[in-house]
Amino acid sequence: MATQNPQPERVNYLNKEYGVGSWLLTTDHKRIALLYLLSITFFFFIGGFFALLIRLELLTPAGDLVQADTYNKLFTMHGMVMIFFFLIPSIPAVLGNFLVPMMIGAKDLAFPRINLLSWYLYIIGGVMMLHCMLTGGVDTGWTFYTPFSTAYTNTKIVEAGLAIFVAGFSSILTGLNFVVTIHRMRAPGMTWSRLPLFIWAHYATSIIQILGTPVVAITIVLVAVERTLHLGIFDPKLGGDPLLFQHLFWFYSHPAVYIMILPSMGIVSEIIACFSRKRIFGYSFVALSSIAIAVFGFLVWAHHMFVAGISVYAALIFSLLSYAVAVPSAVKVFNWTATLYKGSIHYDAPMLYAFGFLGLFTMGGLTGLFLAALGINVHVTDTYFVVAHFHYIMVGGAVMGYLGGMHFWWPKISGKLYPEGWARLAALIVFIGFNLTFFPQFILGYVGMPRRYYQYPPEFQVLNVLSTAGATVLGVGYLLPMIYFLWSMRYGKPAPDNPWNAAGLEWKTASPPPTFNFDEEPVVTWEAYNYEELDSPHNDAPHKQEVPVAR
């Protein structure tokens, strides 16, 4: 058995200071990461609650649980909360904040106080959104298309918009912080080609956050101005063009989906390398594909507008570009698969999530190609096919990656080991629940069930019931890790510095790490993913453990 490093008395970032003030005024990126962890989990519950109500309503063909207007608010708030207050911050603000400085050998991010400001902006935006929801909410769909949102609805558009505006600045500042940190604060010897792919993924994500978010911010300003002053920028009756709103909105909101998936891809690279005991196949291709996704992601936005009234020539261009953007994602999937080939595979919980990601992201991505084809798009736009597509990527992809990453780095973050048996069970439950929830929705969409409808023809009921049943299973799967992670903080076995015998600078320091991450600034003289060296019997590095032993 691996020796347990005696941890109890060591000063680390968790026990260095106690008291609410030391947390709320911290500039330690690791503590800020935990503040984010609590906040985004809270909003995950809120968004999940709305999902529960939606799926309950859809158990029966008739609209009998809530009224139509209420249902509109349910799916709107589900979308807004899940996208802006859970998915977009989740991995960068929790795992990114925690790991980026450590992975590059730095003491903290470049701008620790701005990091704290990011969290406060997120909280302020979140409180505004909560207030908005509690006082009536919004019913336009998370996409708040004009002129309904500017001229016709009487729900709280301006307040919700401002909440998202504020949260958007949180996102921008996080991205800014990461880019400057990665450029300026790498330890000696940590060259670009030795960076973990997690870093490359977060770098690409940050580019999108920096360049895209301001455009949705100004769009929100225009909507707010139009709504309060009754202008005609987007109102056709006054000469405005509603499609202009959609262009500006989707210019951000499409790249936003890459903000949501790229960090998860970075996690998957780390997990697959560790649990195959191999360097990721085609490291440069995977690294550059992250950048390519960020760049190409900005070129495809009008594929959300194929049936909205754009010119057919523009539709052709955007369709072609949408096919192109799938290529770098496919490059990643192929390289991950090649990494698995002849690897020494271990089926610990993080790896189960990574496997889940591979299959589910591939399905989500391929169905994206279906949607990029104009002919199919006309048939399945605004049906459950689209809903299934994006949930496969957002939940089957991003959330699986997030959960895998939380398990993988939990020993580092908390200094405790989670119970592996329960974790594997939870991963399985999540996978089964997820597919049961969303696969029927592909079929529902194909046979014509529209999205955002609270009632449907009776012949669709079986599939809807399956979907709701799946959602219940999925919910159980999500609750389990929350329970055993909390349990482990009190009762879990103390974690060694490197329970997985993984590559990466974060594993070379204590679990949990000291406040300034490293006792001495590391000097990097080895390539990334040096698993051959780590597994070599001649390796007598002080942190060598036996083959992964977190039990």
């Binding site: 300026r184 225009l222 101005v225 500006l248």
Partner: protein, 235 residues
């Protein structure tokens, strides 16, 4: 690629302005600089959305945009452009002064910058007031009746389309003015810090960074002026 940083022993002998998580002052200054440039990139995209809306509507409603643009006071707009260009000079001279330990030059140019900023805002206020009086402010009291389209006598501009011009005019110049106000605030802070002697040839990063922000605000106006004021000024 960062320069290789030696492991810094924090504590003795370094500038008190060096923050603990940086190894060297150069790393700190380079980080601040990159951070400010990236922030300016976000500002470019922020205004960029407005430029996109402007572009589309100018092409669509060129007649109304011409007519509406002609009602703006060209001399005031041109004066404001000159004011901002002069303020960019005073800013860059202030940065130079900070780098060369010329205290009175630094203070003088910071003060001049602030004054020029207020002059800009004052002229803007005069323009906005004129727009208000002529009922060109978008909203319930907007009027743009029987205004001839330049070059097409007998053709009247559509008030709804003209309102779009003015909506964009006020949002774009209003957002710009907001950034000016923030810029003036930043420079007031820089002035007080400079007065206390906080800037030296070794440490003057805040002045440089404030300067970058100010120049950016100037660049935005350099584009706003011809786009808003000079659409159709030929007789």
């Amino acid at each position: 690629m960062p320069d290789s940083q030696t492991v810094a022993v924090s504590g003795e002998g370094h500038n008190p302005a060096l923050l603990h998580h940086f190894a060297t002052e150069e790393q700190q200054r380079n980080s601040a600089s990159l951070g400010m440039w990236i922030f300016l990139a976000t500002e470019v995209m922020f205004f960029g959305g407005l430029f996109c809306a402007y572009l589309i509507y100018r092409l669509k409603y060129f007649a109304e945009f011409s007519a509406a643009s002609k009602t703006l006071a060209l001399s005031l707009g041109a004066t404001n452009t000159a004011v901002l260009i002069c303020s960019s000079l005073t800013v860059v001279l202030a940065v130079y002064a900070a780098q060369h330990a010329k205290r009175s030059m630094l203070l003088g140019n910071l003060i001049l910058t602030i004054i020029l900023g207020f002059v800009f805002l004052g002229i803007k206020a005069v323009e906005y007031n004129e727009k208000f009086e002529k009922h060109h402010v978008p909203g319930p009291s907007f009027q743009f009746n029987e205004v001839n389209v330049p070059g097409h006598p007998g053709q009247y501009a559509n008030p709804s389309h003209a309102q779009i011009f003015f909506a964009l005019y006020f949002v774009m110049t209003g957002l710009h003015a907001l950034h000016m106000i923030i810029g003036i605030g930043i420079f007031v802070w820089l002035l007080t810090a400079a007065w206390k002697g906080r800037f030296t040839p070794e440490y003057n990063t805040p002045v440089e960074m404030g300067g970058l922000y100010w120049h950016f605000v100037d660049i935005i106006w350099i584009y706003l002026f011809p786009l808003l004021y000079l659409i159709d000024r030929h007789p």
